[in-house]
Structure formats: C-alpha cells, structure tokens
C-alpha cells in the first residue's frame, strides 16, 4: 500500500502542475518577463531561462505536449494493439503468422529511429511523434493480448461460450478481454512512462513541439547550451519528468502485484507488521 501512495505522489508531482497549467499560469510562458538566468526567487520560484522567461510557467505549460502525446499514443497503440492481438489469436494461422511478423518488425525498430522516419514523412510537428509512439506501443499490447488469447481460448468457459453460439467478437469482448484487463492495465502504465521518456528525447532532438512553445525536452536542449551561466533551466524540467516516470513505474509495480490474485494473497498475508498496525487502528 505504501507503493500505491508513493506512486500516486510522484506521478501527481509530474502531472498536477501541468493540469493546473492548462487553466492558470503564473506568467505568460513565451513572454520575456525578467532578466535572463535569474536564480529561484519568490517572484520566479524556478528562476528564468536564457531569454528571461519564467521557468515555472514554461515547465507547467511544457508538460502539456508530453502528457497529451503520452496519453494519445498509448490509447491509440493500446486499443489497436489489443484488437490486432485478439485477431491474431482467434483468426486463422496465416493471418496470425503475418500479424506476428509485423509486430516483430515494428519491435525491431528503435523508437527514435521510427520517429525520425515519420518526421521525414509527416514533418517535424506533433502528429509524427504521436504516430511514432503509438506504433511503438502497439506490438507490446498486441503480443500480450495474443499470448493471453492463446492460453484462454482452450479454457472451458470460452469453449462453453462458443458452444452456446457466441460470436467471435462477443467471445473476445465478454469472455477473454476481461481476464486480460489487469495485464493490459500494467502494460498501460509501463507504456505511459516509456512514452513520456521517448517524447522528451524526441523534443530534445527538435521533433515534436516547435519553439517558442515550450516542451520539456526542448527546454533541456536549450539549457544544455547555457550550463555555464545557470544550471536551473537544466534541472527543473527534468525533475517533473523524472517524478512522473518514477511515479508511473511504482504504480505499475504495485498494480502488477496487486492485480495478480496469487500475489495479492501473498501481499496481504506476508508483512505481519502491517497487519498489526491495521488491526490496531479503530
């Protein structure tokens, strides 16, 4: 349970300021509001960057692209991957073989190279990055679903549902996917954290959000050129990113153990100290 708490805390540190930033920002993130390279102060809690823009506002606004892309790409890749994995598991042998080859091919691509190729095709903006990360996430969900379907489709309850005349779609949606939900949820947290990291790398390289709009990766790229003048611009965007990824990883760990019925019994039974504490609280 402590893992749930810390996971939510770290994740919240990286997410909630960005959420607030959608509605309210202390300063205009692209406006020059003070002298450059100010250290943290009351007026500018994180200091200012090389042009004199408020870092806190830029960090809060810069996370928007990261989270949007992470959520969108994981949702798209996850949904499509789950469907394709289900088709590969329940469809014919040739179809399954072809789809699995395709997943392998996508998996063999380093994500950054995939994004570079798509940047050449679609231009440097957000759509290319989102599509690249969706494509990158797809095979993980597809292979997970495929493996799950293969083990579940011979089980009695699935065979019974089929014998009762349920269609393939119904079997997949009502009987198989609910049993894979926990594994897919754990994969979702893992995919979200890799998507966040990948998005930061790509915007560092100049793909994704274009300046002057802020993004965490690009802010770090700008900060690298001015390490001599001030370290703060290189520290704060990274803190938010690291906190968010760390939180997601901890949450994923927790969910992995908690959603596994065998492990859950283990967790609840194992630490006698925790049980004692719980019993003593009224």
């Amino acid at each position: 349970m402590t893992r749930l708490f810390w996971g939510l805390v770290f994740w919240g540190l990286g997410f909630i300021p960005v959420l607030i930033g959608v509605f309210w920002l202390p300063w205009e993130p692209t406006a020059l509001v003070a002298r450059p390279f100010l250290s943290p102060s009351l007026a500018h809690p994180m200091g200012t960057d090389w042009l004199g823009r408020d870092l806190l506002s830029r960090v809060m606004a810069g996370g928007r692209a990261s989270w949007t892309i992470a959520f969108l790409s994981v949702a798209a890749g996850g949904l499509l991957g789950t469907v394709l994995g289900g088709i590969a598991g329940l469809g014919g042998e040739i179809l399954a073989e072809g789809l699995l080859r395709l997943f392998d091919a996508v998996l063999a691509f380093p994500p950054v190279l995939l994004a570079l190729l798509l940047a050449v095709l679609l231009g440097r903006g957000l759509p290319g990055v989102a599509l690249a990360l969706a494509l990158f996430n797809l095979p993980y969900f597809a292979r997970l679903t495929h493996a799950g379907v293969l083990t579940l489709k011979e089980r009695e309850f699935v065979v019974a549902a089929r014998a009762a005349g349920a269609s393939t779609t119904r079997v997949l949606l009502r009987h198989i996917l609910p049993n894979l939900a926990s594994a897919l949820l754990v994969q979702t947290t893992a995919s979200l954290s890799t998507a966040l990291l990948a998005e930061a790398s790509l915007s560092y390289l100049g793909l994704g959000v274009q300046p002057p709009e802020p993004s965490w990766g690009r802010m770090l790229w700008e900060a690298q050129g001015y390490l001599f003048q001030s370290p703060w611009p290189a520290v704060f965007p990274a803190l938010f990113l690291i906190s968010a990824v760390l939180g997601l990883n901890i949450l994923g760990d927790f969910l992995h153990d908690y959603l596994d019925p065998q492990l859950r019994a283990f967790i609840l039974l194992r630490p006698p100290r925790d049980r004692g504490r719980k019993a003593s609280t009224p």
Binding site: R101, L102, D104, A105, A108, F109, P110, V112, L113, L116, L117, A119, V120, L121, S193, L197, A200, S201, Y204, L205, G217, L220, A223, Q224, L227, F228, P231, A234, A238, L241, I242, S243, V245, L246, N249, I250
Partner: protein
C-alpha cells in the same frame, strides 16, 4: 528472422517513396533543362516504378552495396555507415559490458541482503535511474564533470588514433550505462531473490554448503540466464538507440548520421541505417535465444 528484416526494408522503402518532394529536381535545380532532369532521375533510379526499384535496391544490398548518399554525392552509403559504426559499435559494446557487470554485481549484492536496508536503498536508486531520461543524465554529467569540475570534455570525438579518445567516451558511457545497469540490477535481483526461496537452494544449504557456494554455485548459474538474454537485446538496441546521447555529446556515430539523414532527407542513407539497425536487433535477439538454450539445459530448440 530474415522475413522480419525484409518486411521492415519494404515498409521503409515504400513509405519513403510516397514522400512529397522531388530529389531529382532538388539535385539539378529549378532551371535545369528537361534532359538534365531526366538524366538525374535515371541516375537516382527514380524513373523505375517502386517494385523494380526495391528489387534492384535489395539485389545490390545483398551484395553490400547500399547505393550512394544524396547529401554527400559520390560517397557510398555503406562507407558512411561503417564510419558511424566505427564509433557506435565499440561504444555499444562498452556500455553493454559495463552495465551488465555493474548491474549483476548490484543485483547479487541486493539479493544476498534481500529486504534489508542496503537492498531497499539500492532498489530506490535503481528505480530513480530507470526513470531518468538518458539524455538528461548526459546533460547532468556534463554540468558536473565538465563544466564544474573540468574532469572530462563535454563532447566531440577526436578519432580512435588519439590518446584522448577514451576520455571522450567516459561521460557517454555513464549516461548510457547507468540506466541500463539499473535495469540489469532489478532484473537480476528479481530472478535471484526468486531462486533464493526454492527447494534446491534449501537443499544446498541443508547439506552444509557455505553461503558463498550456495550463492555463486547454485543461484547465480540459474539466475544468469535471463540476464544474458537481456544483454544480447541491450547490445542490439544500442546500435540504433544511442542516438540521443550521441547527439548530447556530439559524437559522430551512427545516430548522428541518422539525424543528418532525416533532417537532410537523404533517403538512401536513411534506408541503409534502418536496415543495419533493424538487422542488428533481429540478429542479437536470435543470438540471445540461442544462448538461452545453451545456458539452460531445460530449454531445447525445436
């Protein structure tokens, strides 16, 4: 395995063909005569339909000829890639070995103290390093070790002939190696800790073996298997995956080449780099599977 590489080559080639923009027009300029334009098109192989072009490219690629770069006219793509690999390959090898050794040592240390303070401290540390983007780790290392302390250069690479070559690779090695070491540490800790409660370990202890023999002779041999498989994958992925860190330290490796190719729309170069990196990933993962079977007598290849 070959099929995977072929699928990738076809997909990339087909996608890049669909690109807007005309390389031949770009090459000869807008005022060129139609004859010169046609000649340039023929020289680039753009006069043929896609299947014919792909077949020709594949045929030549199998003989080691990946065509000529558009950005560096007259320079073969294979030569550019070899030049990039001459830095990226040793770096990837160094990173893989460094992270494997460090990660395994930490994992062994952790699992021997499973659940106690040093183990918890290390778990926290590895969790942090897994959440850190490697390019930021690179920036942080530059900030500390080259800007403040002036121990190491902040980037660039003088070439292998120079005595200072290795000094330039120290910070990139740590930036790439530490997150991967954290991964190996967690992986080996999980496998080893799992094994520590198994019956055969209890038996080994019960028959009076000292703890060191139990750990190194019985547990490690079994726990090594997933780590060795992961080592192969790590190495393969590094060839195309060191890109961002190469950019941070402005190292002239394969990654920097890929960036140049993408931003300069050098299609043959981009196609060649994709082929090489994907082939590397596929080859190393196949190799890892074979090694798996070799190390674990319970697994037999069909």
């Amino acid at each position: 395995m070959v099929a995977t590489v072929l699928v990738v080559a076809m997909a990339v080639s087909l996608a890049l063909t669909a690109l807007p923009g005309d390389a031949a027009r770009l090459m000869v300029g807008p005022e060129a005569t139609p004859e010169r334009y046609e000649a340039a098109k023929r020289a680039l192989g753009l006069d043929l339909p896609w299947p014919a072009r792909f077949a020709r490219w594949l045929f030549l690629a199998l003989r080691g000829d990946l065509g000529q770069s558009w950005r560096y006219p007259g320079v073969p793509v294979s030569e550019l890639i070899l030049r990039g690999l001459s830095l990226t390959l040793p770096l990837a090898l160094l990173v893989a070995l460094f992270s494997f050794a460090l990660g395994l040592a930490l994992g062994l240390f952790s699992s021997a103290r499973f659940g106690r303070f040093p183990d918890l401290l290390l778990s926290g540390g590895t969790a942090f390093f897994l959440a850190v983007p490697e390019f930021w780790l690179g920036i942080a290392l530059i900030g500390i070790f080259s800007v403040r302390l002036r121990f190491f250069p902040s980037g660039g690479f003088p070439g292998w002939g120079e005595t200072r070559a290795f000094v330039h690779l120290v910070l990139p090695l740590f930036a790439l190696g530490l997150p991967r070491a954290a991964y190996f540490a967690r992986l080996s800790r999980a496998t080893l800790a799992d094994l520590l409660f198994q019956d055969f370990v209890r038996t080994a202890r019960a028959k009076g073996l000292d703890e060191r023999r139990v750990l190194f002779g019985h547990v490690l041999r079994n726990g090594l298997i997933p780590c060795v498989a992961a080592l192969g994958l790590t190495f393969g992925r590094l060839l195309g995956g060191a890109l961002v860190v190469e950019q941070v330290f402005s190292l002239p490796g394969l990654g920097k080449l890929a960036l140049e190719a993408a931003f300069g729309r050098d299609i043959p170069l981009l196609l060649g780099i994709s082929l090489v990196t994907v082939a590397a990933v596929v080859a190393t993962s196949t190799f890892a599977d074979l090694l798996y079977a070799l190390l674990d007598p319970r697994i037999r290849l069909r």
